[in-house]
Symmetry: C2
Amino acid sequence: MAQTQTFSKNQQIVLDIIEKAKGPLKAYSILFNVQKKGINAPQQIYRALDKLIEAGKIHKIESKNAFVACKNSNCEVSKATAFSICESCEIVDEISDTKLSKYLSKFNHKKGMKFRRFNLEFFGLCKKCKTK
Amino acid sequence: MAQTQTFSKNQQIVLDIIEKAKGPLKAYSILFNVQKKGINAPQQIYRALDKLIEAGKIHKIESKNAFVACKNSNCEVSKATAFSICESCEIVDEISDTKLSKYLSKFNHKKGMKFRRFNLEFFGLCKKCKTK
DNA sequence: ATAACAAACGTTATATTATAACACTATGAT
DNA sequence: ATCATAGTGTTATAATATAACGTTTGTTAT
């Protein structure tokens, strides 16, 4: 049961923008897009991003320093993320593959580490770009 | 058969530093460490890093913007990387698990993407930090 | 209702990470 | 020898992210 979380004004503004976007957004591009709404400083963006990530509403694509909305409505806290990234058109898709996710969540390091979360990024060519 | 590659002066300096290090190094910390050797500008570091990554001698830990030496002597080009990262002491280990690597290399996205490489980062507590 | 606390806000400044652009130098192949 | 390629050195600047400070708002406990 996805408990609906309520966000503050800035958090909601940032979330809206990310959810409307077709692809990952960078922090400063978010900033430029919300200046009309009275947000003027990077801090305000980064603070909102932090909270949204914590809440599992968005994810950071580490290899791109960019942020996408979470597409798994049930992934309240993002402890297991996987993405496919096209190296040509840069399209990013969140992968929700139960098997993969289970496989990785169960993975145990030989050296006795206890994992809390993981992030996986696949790079390649998407269907469209493959045939070009 | 690991064909030995030869590196330029700067590339070798940077590689040496990274290989000697106990953990991931940041680009600017590398820079500060090699100023006595006549390297003065970030560009010189980043250029060397690029080549070393291409050659598979080092990897970038995306979540930390830091660089580690490759521990799989056979991983000439880094197309399949996995790391464990302790969230407490920040220690990073390259995971070389054939099963995991095969599993992920075979993974195919529903949407028909062809993957060329992946990077996986696990976060948690290492053995030492767990018991603290 | 109000005191107390935590969370969010706004702002200025600055730190950190990374690339652009340009001129020069070494190396290796034909 | 000349041509292409990779590497170098340098200055400048872009892009990403955090520190620090004081204020405001929202929640909860009494």
